[in-house]
Symmetry: D3
Subunit: 276 residues, 6 copies
């Protein structure tokens, strides 16, 4: 697959994801450990956001205008990226010469063939709807079986009624009955940086989607986000517990209590819950 | 009702739906048999789409921007069409002279009065929202009782909370509290060709709506679509079954297996399932 | 041309434009006299609007979203209408059987062939842009030579650089390089009621376009509008003359003077200017 | 809190809500009685709309483009209003001088602190999304505990996953991860007239939201709306009951029966149900 | 005029524009001196922008979506503000009781009556188009004669063909033929803070419009902006002069020269041009 | 410049523009000869379009939504491309390590520094407006002096009033006062394939812009387009000449004459004008 369509070489992958503190896949893609992905299920988007902008990462939120299939499930996994651009036969011929002979496999299907367990397929179809339908129910089944995670497509899907029962979280722009149209679009990259909504996504980013939206977390921030989230969880737990008593005004408690006794109570609660 | 507002005459109806292979209603409208409507419940939109564009019918999909009430039920039935245009008193007076005397019945209600079991009311209100609300809960109840199918309106409805419990599939653009406003719109045709979203709909077309969108199938293609769909069903069943084993890459199986043994397995499966 | 594509018969034309007080073309289309079209050059859109809504004609304004070529020239003439709808081969074959043999002329070109001096070509392409380009520079030249008036298209044109130098007023939605695409659209009517923006247009309506927008005036109101406009002209002339002295507050003068002396002055001015 | 940020004085509140027939809160805000709020649960939006436009109140519907959290619950309560405008430090400093010292409480939190049981927080954030997120899950909990009613924000919320489980009805424009951004927006008024969608809302208005949209009912119309609604309820009940028999065309029954026997039947039903 | 409709009292005006360093009108509105308005003609929007965000004023740009009449003239003057809100008869009756008797003058016309030379009429019609047309040609003439500056309306105008020849700069959203519709909108404030596009405008702000957009400059920044602009002018003059020689790469010269000789040349040029 | 930010290597440039029949710049970018650029001034967009889709190049039109500065001048030149993506500090640091020390030059300015005479700067800012302003008047002057051609930016510019007098054709999305914001965007490529509107642009493509839109012509088609255009020119010249006589219906002449005498006349005209 590699070598034809633009792909970051192993060397480039290391260079462009140099801050990754974890292991890597054989092709160099960062491999955030499974246990961190597991822990991330407890995160909320606000906890992700509490860290990233302060580090200069203000554009990791995919923005508005997404439809979500199965918003009741969080989508968490490692990004594998696929990039489309408007069709130009000269560029396509140069990038993908084996298109011309042998048992031809459509480029997006070659991408699906190499997905790993724990991956999320992240597809930049630059918002294309008609003819921008990266999967129907058959290939959606293939993605689900390969990854057990899900799909993000800045474009469309087809066969809503066939995809829904799979139970896979999908973030997409629209549904359209046309199949993908290789007369107007083409694959130009696999595991390259892609633009999804308002964000730049790198291969190996942690995709984090819930009912409030879609985020892409660079691996180097996973630990800090998870650590801070523990405290935020306890803080919010305590805050809501106090507010639920009906005895306090919001400003007595939030963002933090002014009253020294309450302050102390909170600090003890925090300590206890942190298990110290 | 007829004779006043533009309606295809019996002769015109035969001429403009000349390819209909089925019976007709007394007014000439094609009557796709009930058993085909019944069989159509098993169709997916992709199976419809697999046939129509290849026949030169590329514009039978109503496009995007619809809200669906009860997407969990498929909407399938024969189109009865109602056309509105922006109000012009001179044209309305000429088209509907009995508007002036006797126990006046609103034109859209006369349309509802003649709906038949198995019909879908298809209303072209050219996207009008304020004052473009063709039914509230009372007339929606009337449509439901008359057709047991549903309503498509390229315009609005009112009284969401009253219509929802009826359990009828409705495809619509918006909800608005205003009643229909005959100072700004008027009925100009019943059972004439209408434009619904991106499609031209003829009386007698099979309306096919599911959670993925809305289609209008000319009667002459119903049999071919249903025949091809059987094979597609079995193909997708087998494809997903294979992919669910986790033993294959997507391209081993889809769109069709390369491996001769798999190929043979599929062909036998197909034959068996087709009952041959 | 007639007989194939929907067209109002002579009898229907008389029925649906029954309030026309003027002569008619041989096909029954109202023919507002040339001298009234000439006088209409002095009208402003507000003078048109001062009459129509009060008669129940609230929807004769084409609404927003138009581009205007040569807004420095008013567009005034008699509507010839052309209606397109999304393509359906069965309907097209029935409506236009001679499409199949002989020296085929594209339907929109047959429409252009019958335009008369004083006509405005009014084309309902339902906002279609790609493949909805009713003319390029050659056919625009043909419209100009036939009518010396202009073109309204609720759709697109192509060849901006070739059309502009003709000097013809054109109201259109967009420019696109594609030629008109008869695989996705078809002509369904000539001289039938059409929807242009927010308005219903009848053949024979007076098209009135200036830099502020586009109106369609039913023939029966032309005289009343022109008569009232004389008084409005004089009123506005006097009002601005007074305001230009810098001696008055707006409410001293507008909408009408309170001061008896000013009132009298205005009335005498009006009488004199009306030539009484 | 008052005195700094624009607020209607007690005298102004009485003047601008002079038609309120009910008690008032200490600050002058109208207090529609609890039993009327309770009765309003049986209302539909169409019953509200049946009264207001006829009184000259045509703009009490908030219009389209809202997202609804928990549309299965009606939102009914008394409006407390909060107004934001784009940030101007000079105006903010003048309006809210204590921002500069002491234990600072964010202006929107001071608003939340004074919410009463039965109130609905109505926040004009002029459609601002990024940085226009008036609450996350902690402050949403505070609103819920204070009012047991809900929130309307012509702007955004954050922390969808944390707010949803509270079970509070929220009408909002979008979800965004940013916290509210006091560098680009500021609070300019509490309990002043605000613009929410297409409507002007006064403090003390009855907020009425269901799955069909959002209304603001001036207190002076509550009784008339509720009285008329009883009759409409019975009318619709009878109409649907009749239509459900399948024996009638819609126009036999709706809007009212023509047949004298049916007419009489309806009138007796009405009388009986009204308990007369 | 005052006293009925919301207006900042003299005391409030002083409080909310406390940072104004210049004289004031009798009602307290800041009066930026004529000579500064005159000097402002030499400003570009970028020079305005060079100062305001750094002071915390990031929202003084009216944003996108404006049409400009006479973009070849700069619009510079002191803001007089007029605020509309969606109609509510109870609020209007309370705010404007004399609407009921005597020689009634429409509220927006009372506003036009008090405009001063050097003022710009700034009208918040919250984007309303139909029925949101604050002036036609007569009242536009009145504004022009009173101010010799111009009009900003976040709403519509009517009578394009009559207003254009006046030669007055107008910033507006659309043209519509309807007159202003007091059944759906009402005046709620004169010389109060208003929202125009993305900005909050105070009475007395300097309105600054050119072909690139629309700004509102608080009086307290006028001197600093004008002072800095002198240097920017000379800098840009020198930069372009150098680039026009064709001898330099952009980075040799811009934003400032690296080469010591060039640096010195620039500094001497600056000194000379500043007249030192 | 190269080596840091993604750039096609010389080898890649040759591979991806392999069909270029002309000379190349030292970095491998195709160099369509000056005389062909000169001849292209006579082309219309329709003549470009007459060739490209038939070769499978259907996506070379940049689509709608562009503003054009100086539409009276055609923009013709060789594409130099610049690609931005939403900011990610890790990727930027890897791509552009010298950002950290030495006399820093902003990445987009390094791009401007290497523009050649005959080039068009083609900038993919993915539609970003606020903070997506690639040039103001100083850098626009630099582009003009370097290229004498112009600028295409799928994003914004600032300083309209300063750029306009330069007289350079610019195709852009909007004007905004903010400078380019490197906290939210970053340069990711120079002379790589970019997406501009609906098209993929390669370095060395011929940019062709007129008042009707914007095209990108792969070098390999320049000769064929120019050759065919000669005939189209003569055809249109003859067609309009004939139609201008007023003696013919459009279908007598267009698309080609049916009458044998006219046919012959045209053929002789064509021969003569082609200089044969």
């Amino acid at each position: 697959m590699r070598g034809q369509i633009f792909t970051l070489s192993h060397e480039q992958m290391l260079k462009y994801t140099a801050e990754n503190p974890f292991d890597r896949f054989p092709d160099g893609r960062p491999k955030v450990p499974d246990e961190l992905l597991e822990k991330a299920k407890g995160l909320s988007i606000e906890e992700v956001w509490a860290v990233l902008p302060g580090k200069g990462y203000r554009m990791q939120y995919a923005g508005e205008g997404w439809r979500i299939m199965h918003p009741e499930k969080k989508l968490i996994g490692r990004a594998m990226t696929l990039q489309f651009m408007p069709m130009r036969p000269d560029l396509q011929k140069a990038a993908d010469p084996n298109a011309a002979g042998g048992p031809r496999i459509a480029p997006h299907q070659r991408f699906i063939d190499v997905l790993q367990p724990g991956d999320v397929a992240v597809v930049d179809l630059y918002g294309k709807i008609e003819g921008g339908t990266v999967v129907g129910d058959n290939l959606a089944t293939a993605i689900w079986n390969a990854t057990k995670r899900g799909l993000v497509v800045d474009g469309a899907i087809r066969d809503m009624e066939g995809i829904f029962p799979i139970g896979m979280p999908v973030y997409y722009r629209a549904v359209h009955p046309t199949p993908i149209d290789y007369a107007t679009t083409m694959v130009t990259g696999i595991n390259v940086p892609v633009k999804i909504g308002d964000a730049t996504v790198m291969p190996g980013d942690v995709v984090f989607g819930d009912s409030g939206g879609l985020y892409f977390i660079p691996p180097q921030f996973m630990k800090e986000i998870l650590d801070k989230a523990d405290i935020t969880h306890i803080h919010d737990e305590w805050t809501k517990m106090k507010l639920d008593t009906g005895k306090y005004k919001s400003s007595d408690i939030y963002p933090s209590p002014h009253d020294p006794a309450l302050k102390k109570e909170y600090e003890e609660y925090l300590k206890k819950r942190l298990g110290k």
